[in-house]
Structures are given as structure tokens and as C-alpha cells.
């Protein structure tokens, strides 16, 4: 029997698969932390502007270019870029669109295993913490943060067994193919995820004030910490005359006390940080644009592969918007109302402020659930929700690699699954073994999960707007479209999006590579650069070597493939 080309089964299925790819840990952990840090109102303004200027345009460009390349028989970025641009160099640049999801999968599946492990431990009642230190120690031991090799263990409170389960689950689903694997799983997982999130949301919004002796720890203040547009901070003056923020106050009674308390002191003050002041902070724009980027899964090389399996008459404009809106709903309406309000209700603003994504998710929230009525049940639900979100994302990271290997080596799915399984197993083992200070994971996330995503996104919007041409791009996008892209997006996609991306990328490099602080103007070398050149770290260098090896392998396969020398396999 002749091999049939792979395809999606239904429109809803492909939308849920793309939405599943986008909805991940960032929706429930990263977004609330970022919004609270930069002030709810100001952050949301920058967030929605970034959504319109870069999120939607890159999303539509990826959907349109992917389907266009798919018509010519290509399902991975090297073939699609080569076909669209008709320039041989772009097939090598397309390797980035395969490298990003494959490398991210190597460490993302490790984090996915944390989520499964936490949900199982809540279900079995092993998460009875009494302090944040308990919770942090559990996390440290669970992922082996203390020393290399410590994460490899197969007990209930060690990550090994969960990693094995999620790794096998991912590859079983990916082996079953697009419609019977990815689409089928997302069709059930996404509605389940939303249902669980709504259940947890109802629980969080009815928490009230759990501890009467601490009246400032309540849901209202939790929501205020997340959404209040103006912030009140207590600042102390340093010897050089500068003021540094000591703490943030949300509760009205506490604010009145602090104002009265500092009124007579010359070196302490309560200051109101306005929306306007926050919007002048370049760091806020960087955070908002970055969140849109990573949340929508644009520039990952995933959407372009997924949409390549659509036919010419299938809609991409409404599908793209629907998948994007599903992600935004999960992020803003669910993630924005669950995580921080729950955390502040039990730990107060001081216990939550400044926690990073992992700190909030795996140190603070377990402590919150441990103190909540029916906490084991809701803890299980929350981490199972994160687990589902992570599986739908990790599945999407495998498909570009599978498609590329099938295309480049002319092998069948079973062989490509085995080949990619071997590559990702080695990479994942590397991340898990070098667990001390999560150095391997952190290094790979920085250079691939952030740096290369900026590069690929810029590349894609430039190809769409300038090489393919925005008029031709719109013509391709509108084939079979259920709705039309507003005309103003022609200007946005040609001029504004690339410019906005370049500005954000330049700011990102200044802040994260050269360590520039936009508010103080001081610069200090970033830890990632220091790990490579100033105080060379063996694990950081090995992580880069692993990325380089996989990149070289992909480039080698592209160079060997005669199909990429033609414009279209079907020509």
C-alpha cells in the first residue's frame, strides 16, 4: 500500500494542536510573575500592543508560509524557506527552525517530568510542607539541584521515573502520527486543561482570608498585587542619595500605616509608581514583548510545520487567530487569576514578590496548596494541569524534527521517531545528569530558547514581508480563508513588526548579554557570557557543544539532500 501523506483530521483538531503547543507553563507561571513585577495595567498595555505588532503578524506569517511550503511537499523549515525564498542560503537558516524545537524538547521534557512528579506526590500525600524552606528542599532534592547526577533516581520523590514515563508517552503519541497522536491527544487534553483551570480558579476566588490573624493576606490583595496599575513601594535612601525599593504594599490599611510611619522619617518614604512611569521603563516593554513571543510559540518552528499539513483550501487566518485567542484566554483569564492571588492569599506580597517562574511554581505554590483545605486534591489538579499543558507543548516540539528527518533522509516515521528519540534521549540525559544549579538547562534555554527564537522570528517576518512580498503573502494567506486579515496589517507586517522585533532584540542583547540595567544605566557582564569567557564553566561549554553538534548534523543533512536543491519536490 502506498504511503499516504500525513494530514490533520479536523479544523478544530489543528486549532487545538496549535493552541496546545502555545499553552504551557509560561501561561500559568511566567505571565503572572511578569505582570505583577511590572505593574498590571502598564504591563497589560505593552502586552496587548506587542500582541498586535509581533504576536499576531508572526503567527499569521508562519501559518501562511507553512501551508504554502506544504503545497510544494515540504514540511520542515529548511525546505519551506528554500521553496519560498528561492535562495539556497535560506535552507541552512531554516535549520534553526528544526534546531530550536529539538533542543528545547531536551530540557522541556525534564520540566514536564517535574509537573507529573509533583501531581503524583500531591495525590499520594507526600507534600505536607510547613515552610517555604521545606518546599524548596523538596524541589532541590527532586531535581538534583545540589550536585550533578543527583537527579537520577527512581523513587517516588525523585524525577527519574517520571522522566521515563513522559519521554515514552511523548514518543508513543508522536509515533501514532499527526491525527491519531498529536491531534487526538490535544482534542481531549485541551478541554480537560481548561476545565481543571476553571475548577482551580473557583477554589482560589473563594479562598477569602484564610488566616484571620493576618487580614492583609486575602484574595482581594492577591488580585490587587497582580492587576493594580499603580504600585506603592516603600523606599529607603542610600548614603549616595539614591533610593532603593524595600518592599511593595498592596493592602490599604498597611499602606496607611506605612505612610504614617514614614511621614516623619527623612530616609524612608512611600512612593506611588504611576502607569506613565512604568511605561517609560524599557525593561517593561522587553518583558511584555518577550512574554508574547514565548507564550504564542511563534518563532519556534512549530506552527510552520503544523500548517504545512493543511491543504490549499484550508483556512489559516481564522485558525491562527483561534489558536492564538485560546492561548490568550488560558494566559490572561485563567493564569492571571489563579497563580498570584492564591500565593498572596497564603504567603502575603512579601512571600511572593521577586520569585522567578520556577520559584513561584515549584517552591511557593506547593506550599500554598499544602496549607489549603483539600490542598492535596487541588495541588494534584494544578500540577496535572501543568503536566497536560507541557505534554501538548512537548509533542509539538518533536514534529518539526520528525518531519525534517523524514524529508532529509527519506526514511519512514518509525525510523525518524527512532532517530530523533536517540538524539533527544542523549540531550535529555545530559540535562538531567548536569542538574547542579540547573546549569545545562539554563544555558540551553538562554541560547536556544531565547536567543535563537528572536533570530527565527525576525527571519520569518522578513521572509514574509520582504522576500515573499507582503502582497503575495496576503494572497497566499487568504486562500480558503474564513476571515480576512485587516489591511493595516500589510503595513504592520512589512515595516512595524521587523522594526519592533529588531528594537526588542537589541534591548534584549543589551540587557541579557551585556548586562545593561536600563533604569540605572549600569552595565555588568551577564552570567551567561561570564560562564563562557570570563569564568569558563565546563557544563555551559558542553551545553553549547551539544547545541553545535546537533546544528552541524542538521546542516550536513540539508547539504546532502537533493530535494532542497530544487524549488519544489513536485516541480
Amino acid at each position: 500500500m502506498a504511503k499516504q501523506p500525513e494530514s490533520w483530521n479536523s479544523r478544530i483538531g489543528v486549532i487545538l494542536a496549535v493552541a496546545g503547543s502555545a499553552v504551557g507553563l509560561g501561561n500559568f507561571l511566567r505571565f503572572p510573575g511578569q505582570a505583577a513585577e511590572y505593574g498590571g495595567g502598564a504591563f497589560m498595555l505593552a502586552y496587548f500592543i506587542s500582541f498586535i505588532l509581533i504576536g499576531l503578524p508572526i503567527c499569521w506569517a508562519e501559518w501562511a508560509m507553512g501551508r504554502h511550503g506544504g503545497q510544494a511537499g515540504f514540511n520542515s523549515a529548511p525546505g519551506i524557506f528554500n521553496y519560498i525564498t528561492r535562495k539556497p542560503a535560506f535552507k541552512y537558516l531554516g535549520a534553526i527552525g528544526v534546531l530550536i524545537p529539538v533542543i528545547i524538547y531536551m530540557y522541556y521534557v525534564y520540566i514536564e517530568a517535574w509537573c507529573l512528579g509533583y501531581s503524583v506526590n500531591f495525590l499520594t500525600g507526600h507534600m505536607d510542607f510547613t515552610s517555604i524552606e521545606d518546599s524548596s528542599n523538596f524541589w532541590g532534592n527532586f531535581i538534583g539541584i545540589g550536585e550533578n547526577g543527583a537527579a537520577i533516581g527512581f523513587g517516588l520523590s525523585q524525577v527519574g521515573i517520571y522522566l521515563l514515563v513522559v519521554f515514552i508517552l511523548n514518543f508513543i503519541l508522536i509515533y501514532r502520527g499527526l491525527s491519531k497522536g498529536i491531534e487526538l491527544f490535544c482534542t481531549y487534553a485541551m478541554p480537560t486543561l481548561v476545565l481543571i483551570a476553571v475548577l482551580i480558579l473557583l477554589r482560589v476566588l473563594t479562598l477569602g482570608t484564610p488566616d484571620a490573624s493576618m487580614p492583609d493576606r486575602n484574595v482581594n490583595n492577591g488580585l490587587g498585587f497582580m492587576w493594580n496599575p499603580t504600585k506603592h513601594v516603600v523606599e529607603t535612601q542610600q548614603q549616595d542619595g539614591s533610593w532603593i525599593v524595600e518592599r511593595q504594599i498592596v493592602d490599604r490599611a498597611a499602606l496607611a500605616v506605612a505612610q504614617a510611619d514614614t511621614a516623619t522619617k527623612a530616609t524612608t518614604r512611600v512612593r506611588q509608581v504611576t502607569v506613565k512611569e512604568q511605561l517609560w521603563n524599557p525593561q517593561l516593554w522587553l518583558a511584555a514583548a518577550g512574554q508574547i513571543f514565548f507564550s504564542l510559540s511563534v518563532g519556534f518552528g512549530v506552527i510552520i510545520t503544523y500548517s504545512s499539513y493543511l491543504s490549499k483550501k484550508d483556512d489559516v487566518v481564522l485558525s491562527g487567530l483561534a489558536a492564538t485567542s485560546a492561548n490568550e484566554f488560558c494566559e490572561v483569564a485563567l493564569g492571571g487569576l489563579i497563580t498570584l492571588p492564591a500565593a498572596v492569599t497564603f504567603l502575603g506580597v512579601a512571600g511572593v514578590a521577586g520569585m522567578g517562574t520556577f520559584g513561584l511554581g515549584f517552591n511557593v505554590l506547593p506550599m500554598v496548596f499544602a496549607n489549603m483545605a483539600f490542598g492535596n486534591f487541588f495541588g494534584f489538579l494544578f500540577f496535572f494541569l501543568l503536566f497536560l499543558a507541557a505534554v501538548t507543548s512537548s509533542l509539538s516540539m518533536l514534529q518539526p524534527g520528525i518531519a525534517f528527518l523524514e524529508e532529509a533522509l527519506k526514511i519512514n516515521r518509525k525510523q525518524s521517531v527512532a532517530f530523533l528519540g536517540l538524539i533527544t534521549a542523549v540531550g535529555c540525559g545530559f540535562c538531567v545528569y548536569f542538574s547542579a544549579d540547573v546549569k545545562a538547562l539554563d544555558t540551553m534555554d538562554f541560547w536556544v530558547g531565547t536567543f535563537l527564537i528572536f533570530i527565527l522570528s525576525t527571519l520569518q517576518i522578513v521572509i514574509f514581508g520582504w522576500l515573499l512580498g507582503v502582497d503575495e503573502g496576503f494572497r497566499i494567506a487568504h486562500q480558503g480563508a474564513a476571515i480576512r486579515i485587516p489591511k493595516v496589517f500589510k503595513f504592520i507586517m512589512k515595516y512595524i513588526s521587523p522594526l519592533f522585533l529588531l528594537i526588542i532584540f537589541a534591548m534584549w542583547v543589551a540587557a541579557n548579554v551585556f548586562g545593561l540595567n536600563f533604569q540605572t544605566g549600569e552595565a555588568s557582564t551577564s552570567g551567561y557570557v561570564r560562564d563562557l569567557f570570563i569564568e569558563p564553566n565546563t557544563v555551559a561549554w558542553m551545553s553549547l557543544a551539544l547545541i553545535g553538534f546537533v546544528a552541524a548534523l542538521f546542516v550536513f543533512l540539508i547539504a546532502l539532500n537533493p530535494d532542497y536543491k530544487q524549488h519544489s519536490k513536485k516541480d
Binding site: N9, G177, W227, D315, S325, K414, A482
Partner: protein
């Protein structure tokens, strides 16, 4: 939470919820949108 906080919350949550609902409505109400695109694959791609 301040009243301006409630406004920001309502505008943000309301706008993304409305967009999401409109998209679902549009996908489900557009003719042929919910029909199978290519028919079920009964076997894994290699079979």
C-alpha cells in the same frame, strides 16, 4: 484591589474572553469548518 485594578482586570480578561468566544463561534458557524478535512487515518503513517 483598587477600582482601577478592577477596570484593568475586567478589560483584559473581558477582551481575551470575547475574542476567544468569537473565534469559537466563527469556527463552528462557518460552513464546512467542522467537517473532517481529509478523513480519519486509521493506521499509523507507516502502515
Amino acid at each position: 484591589m483598587t477600582s482601577s485594578g478592577w477596570i484593568i482586570l475586567a478589560l483584559s480578561v473581558g477582551s481575551v474572553s470575547l475574542l476567544f468566544i468569537w473565534c469559537i463561534y466563527k469556527v463552528l458557524s462557518t460552513p464546512h469548518e467542522t467537517e473532517h478535512i481529509h478523513g480519519f487515518e486509521q493506521a499509523t503513517p507507516d502502515e
